[in-house]
Each structure stands twice: as structure tokens, then as C-alpha cells.
């Protein structure tokens, strides 16, 4: 039972991270029908940018609520800017091109970001400072969880609720949903589709940036190519939930995180990826458009 509860905590932590990243994939897919392969690399870029901002501007070892908040906000702004730039330069010129051309462009953008990180920060693993969050550890009857894990779960949940409200209750959210259903019709209704697409890139990249910082803070070691691993897992999560569907991405992320944690806890982490993809294929065989795929008409 202890193993179960411990892996439940770990799974929810990593699941929250997957869900945050998956939201970026699913929103872009919902509106543009494009797999944004560069999204995972934005997450990696965020961890490196956050590291540099913290160490260079505030100095390693300092910590206060203000500093932590500033690191998060500045990093999120930078990554959102890079996301918008990415859309402008690599995706917008291809909006009317065959679909696969944009996929190749996304793969190219992924290579560019990944190798830029490598050229700027070097090919070796960087260690994220440990003192951004207090290193408090709680032990409840043998189940250990850290302050960082609680923050990850709490803030991710908060962001997801915020996003859900934004998409469903605001004017911009309505515009995003309308554009996802039919871009041409949305244009005819006076929706500025370019603004909608910019907004989803800002939101998606900022959520990815938060996830990237959390990855740095929680796992410490960051490498230039880690975006691929997290990106792929998050993307699988988005597909499992039904890509284009926002609650689907959240569900898929949490589900995949828990599944991975249980596999590592009870079977072996050597085969983790194999089990992940076997689960994906099994889900796709029975539900070809993901768990929440067609059942919910609202698609974003």
C-alpha cells in the first residue's frame, strides 16, 4: 500500500507536468490541425532560460516569494514571445500549404531550438539550483512528499482551472472555440483569426514554460535534448485524451503520469516507454480519436 500511495504522489506530480505541456499541443492542434513538434523544445528552453535568469539576475542562493514569482513570470514571458515568433516565422507562411509541409517545418523548428540551446548553454547537463523552493519534506506514515511536488500539483491544477474558465467564459475563449470549429466561418463572423492563433501560442508556451521550470526545480538535471522526451510523453498524453480537446489533455496527462509511475513502481522503469506506447495503441484501437475524442462536441 505504501508503494501505491508513494507512486500515486509521484504519478500525480509528473502527470501534472505532462498535462501542462499537453495543453500547449492540444490547443495548437485544435485550432491549426498542426502537431507543434517544437513545443517540447520550448519547455526545455524555459528550464535553461529560468536557470540563467535566476543565477544571473537574482544570484544563486537568494530566495523570496518575489524572486520566485519574478523568475516564473519573466521566463513565461520570454517563452511566450519565442512561441509567437515561432508561429510568425515557421507556421504562418504555411497556413494554406499542404498539411505535412507544416509538420516538416515544425520538425525543423524543433531542431533549430534544440541546437540553439546546445550552442548557448553547451551539450552537458546543467544542474538547476535547489533553493528556489524550500526543501521541506513531509512524511505521512512512510509516504514521502516534498514541498515542490505539492506546489507542482497545486499550481498546475490552478492554471488548468484558470484555462478552463478562460476558454469557456470569456469572449476570447469563445473566439478560440469558434476558430477551432471552423476557421473560415469564424473569419466571416469578424473574429481575428491571427489574434486567436497568437493567443493560443502565448498561452500554450507560457504553460509549457511553467512546466519547464517545474521540471528543472523538481528533477534538477536539465539537458538540451530533454524537450523531446517530455514533449513526446505530453503529446502521447494529448492523443490519449483526444487531441484538440482541453479536458482531454488534462485527463491524458494525469492518466499517463499515474500509469508511468505505477509501471516504474511495480514492474520496472526499463520498459516504461514500451508500456506507454502499448497503452496508447490499445486506447487507439478501441477509441480511434482518444478517450474524450468525439463524445464532447466542444473542441479547442
Amino acid at each position: 500500500m505504501d508503494i501505491f500511495l508513494q507512486q500515486l504522489i509521484n504519478g500525480l506530480t509528473v502527470g501534472s507536468l505532462y498535462a501542462l505541456v499537453a495543453l500547449g499541443y492540444t490547443m495548437v492542434y485544435g485550432v491549426m490541425k498542426l502537431i507543434n513538434f517544437a513545443h517540447g523544445d520550448l519547455v526545455a528552453l524555459s528550464a535553461f532560460a529560468g536557470l540563467t535568469i535566476y543565477v544571473e539576475i537574482f544570484g544563486e542562493g537568494t530566495n523570496s516569494l518575489f524572486i520566485v514569482l519574478s523568475v516564473f513570470v519573466i521566463t513565461a514571458l520570454i517563452i511566450a514571445f519565442v512561441g509567437v515568433l515561432l508561429e510568425r516565422l515557421a507556421y504562418r507562411p504555411l497556413r494554406t500549404a499542404p498539411r505535412l509541409s507544416a509538420v516538416v517545418s515544425a520538425l525543423g523548428a524543433s531542431l533549430v531550438i534544440q541546437n540553439s540551446i546546445m550552442l548557448i548553454w553547451g551539450p552537458n547537463m546543467k544542474i538547476f539550483p535547489s533553493n528556489l523552493f524550500p526543501s521541506t519534506i513531509w512524511n505521512l506514515n512512510g509516504v514521502v512528499f516534498t514541498f515542490t511536488q505539492v506546489m507542482i500539483m497545486g499550481i498546475s491544477a490552478l492554471l488548468m482551472v484558470g484555462l478552463y474558465i478562460f476558454i469557456n467564459k470569456t469572449k476570447m475563449g469563445t473566439a478560440i472555440r469558434a476558430t477551432a470549429i471552423d476557421q473560415d466561418a469564424a473569419k466571416l463572423m469578424g473574429i481575428n483569426v491571427n489574434r486567436v492563433i497568437m493567443t493560443i501560442f502565448i498561452i500554450g508556451s507560457a504553460l509549457g514554460a511553467v512546466a519547464g521550470l517545474f521540471i528543472g526545480i523538481n528533477y534538477r538535471g536539465i539537458t538540451f535534448d530533454m524537450g523531446w522526451t517530455y514533449g513526446l510523453n505530453a503529446f502521447v498524453a494529448a492523443i490519449m485524451g483526444g487531441i484538440g480537446n482541453i479536458p482531454g489533455a488534462m485527463l491524458g496527462g494525469i492518466l499517463l503520469g499515474l500509469f508511468n509511475a505505477m509501471i516504474s513502481g511495480y514492474i520496472s522503469s526499463e520498459w516504461a516507454e514500451t508500456f506507454t506506447f502499448v497503452l496508447l495503441v490499445v486506447i487507439l484501437i478501441f477509441r480511434p480519436t482518444g478517450i474524450l475524442g468525439e463524445t464532447i462536441a466542444e473542441k479547442v
Binding site: I35, P98, S101, L107, L111, L284, P288
Partner: protein, 315 residues
């Protein structure tokens, strides 16, 4: 179509005389180019012709290579006989793996095939049954012997790859002229329309998968002979993405396009080895630029003189 015959013949003549004018290191690059073009053509059958988003093609390339390596090194089967399982195993695996998911829509299929490739890499890295040699791979693959004659020089391997490519081009030509090729073409254009015209979409897509994978397996076997070793990183997802990109950067279903794509993606990086660290950055930029300037590939395929107002596939 006539034009692509001419290009194919010129290309084969040039490649046929290439060994006379090159030293051994360029000959090795040339052999690799021939093998990768075969894989790129097999990817083109699945992605460019049948229009199935396959992003795990290195899996079938790898299955062929590992079939040759395992049978030769662990069981002492002569190389020449390992060609048959190296073609049959990928073919059967393609049907078994793609069968249950062939009905998936584009991007879902793409992710599932990436998944197959990742599972394959994890299986060979974990040294399953002690056969695959783990992360180091398998070394010491024998040379090809036919009636006691050893084909071990680089030139001999080059011409074996050349024969394989010629054979592949012949298969592609026959495919284009056959019922199967036409069916794939219609499915690629519009699978719902194809279905309602009585084309069995599932069957032809699976056929494309099986044919493409069998050819990739033969190329994998050749790859194992060329390097006399196989290791997991030659068949990982990055390679699959490369094959996927080759077809789209060059031009789907276009013979010169696929050849140019292979040249750009595999030979140019060999030439620019000095810029080792920055070259993938340039590479990525080039991929974006090519797609923006030539969204249908560098050398897109043309089908007769269709008036512009009849072309609906610009979107």
C-alpha cells in the same frame, strides 16, 4: 511519367560509373547514399503514394538489419540466405503492427508508428533473449559469399547496393503502372471518395505498408553488410523522422524529389562534417525555409497538364 524514366536512367548511369572516379571514402558515402535512397523510396510508397503518415520507418529498416545480424552472428547462417528473412520479417511485422491501427486518422497513425519505433529500440536496447547485444549492438557480421567467392571490397558492396536500388526503381515503375499504384494514388487524394468507388482502402494501405517495409528490410540487410555491425541508434526515431522529412522535402511520389531529398539529408551532412556543432541548426532552418518556399517539396511531382482552376489540392 516519361520525364522520371529519363531521370532514373541518367541517375543509374551516373551512379553505375561513380566508383571509377572516387576514392574509397567517397565510395562508402556513395554506398550509404544508395542504401538510404532505397529506404527513402520505400518510405515514399507508404507516405507519398498511399498517404499513410508513417513516422516509424526506421523500425522496418532496423528489423531487416537485425535479422541479418542475428541470424549470421548467432546462428551462423550465410549472409546470402539471411536476405529472405530480412525481407519476410519486416513484411509480416508491418501487417501485424499496422493491421489493427490502419484505420486511424493521419496524426493518430503518425504517433502510433513513432510508438512502434520506440518500442523496437527499447526491446533491442534491453538485449532481449541475449540476441540483440543491447546498446552496443552486434559486431562481426560476415561478408557475402556466393559459391566460395567473397564479395568484401567496398566496390562489391557498392554494386550490390546499386542492384538493390535498381530493383527498387523497377518495383516503383511497375507499381505506378499497376492497379495497386493507381488505387494508392486515389486513396492519397481522397480516401472517402476512393472507398465509395469500391477501392478497399484498408487493404491497399496495408499493402503499401507491407511492400514498403519489405523493401526497407532488404535495405537494412545491405546496411548490416556495409558496416558489418548494427547498433540501435542507426534505427531510432530520429532516423525515422529523417526518412519522413526526405520524402516531404524532396517531393512526395516524385522520383527526382526523393533522390534530391536523400542527397540533401544524408550526403550534405557528410560533406559539412567540419561544422559539426552548428550543422543541425542550419539543417533545421533549411527545413523551414524549403517548406515555406516550396511547400510541395523541392521537385514536386506533376500529373499531366491540369488547368489551375481544377486543382483543389492547393489547400
Amino acid at each position: 511519367m516519361r520525364q522520371s524514366y529519363k531521370i532514373a536512367i541518367v541517375f543509374l548511369i551516373v551512379m553505375g560509373f561513380f566508383p571509377l572516379f572516387s576514392n574509397s571514402s567517397w565510395l562508402a558515402v556513395g554506398t550509404t547514399f544508395l542504401i538510404y535512397s532505397v529506404v527513402a523510396f520505400s518510405q515514399d510508397i507508404i507516405l507519398g503514394r498511399a498517404g499513410a503518415f508513417q513516422m516509424g520507418h526506421a523500425l522496418f529498416f532496423g528489423l531487416g538489419a537485425y535479422a541479418t545480424a542475428i541470424l549470421n552472428v548467432h546462428f551462423g547462417v550465410p549472409i546470402i540466405y539471411t536476405f529472405i528473412p530480412a525481407i519476410l520479417i519486416p513484411l509480416i511485422m508491418a501487417i501485424v503492427l499496422a493491421g489493427p491501427i490502419i484505420h486511424l486518422k493521419g496524426d493518430y497513425l503518425l504517433v502510433a508508428t513513432i510508438g512502434f519505433n520506440i518500442i523496437f529500440i527499447q526491446v533491442i536496447q534491453n538485449d532481449i533473449f541475449g540476441l540483440t547485444g543491447g546498446p552496443n549492438g552486434i559486431f562481426g557480421i560476415d561478408v557475402v559469399r556466393i559459391f566460395g567467392v567473397e564479395f568484401m571490397s567496398q566496390t562489391a558492396i557498392y554494386y550490390m547496393s546499386f542492384m538493390l536500388l535498381t530493383l527498387t526503381l523497377l518495383i516503383m515503375r511497375n507499381l505506378d503502372a499497376s492497379k495497386y499504384g493507381r488505387a494508392m494514388f486515389y486513396i492519397n487524394k481522397d480516401d472517402i471518395a476512393a472507398q465509395s468507388m469500391g477501392i478497399n482502402v484498408r487493404y491497399y494501405k496495408l499493402y503499401a505498408f507491407a511492400l514498403g517495409s519489405a523493401i526497407a528490410g532488404a535495405a537494412g540487410s545491405m546496411f548490416a553488410i556495409q558496416y558489418s555491425a548494427v547498433s540501435p541508434e542507426a534505427f531510432n526515431v530520429v532516423q525515422s523522422i529523417m526518412f519522413f522529412t526526405i520524402v516531404l522535402v524532396g517531393g512526395s511520389a516524385s522520383l527526382p524529389g526523393v533522390l534530391i531529398g536523400t542527397f540533401v539529408m544524408f550526403v550534405l551532412p557528410e560533406i559539412f562534417r567540419e561544422f559539426a556543432t552548428a550543422r543541425y541548426l542550419v539543417f533545421g532552418l533549411a527545413m523551414i525555409l524549403t517548406m515555406i518556399l516550396r511547400p510541395r517539396g523541392i521537385w514536386p511531382v506533376k500529373f499531366g497538364n491540369i488547368p489551375n482552376y481544377l486543382k483543389k489540392d492547393t489547400k
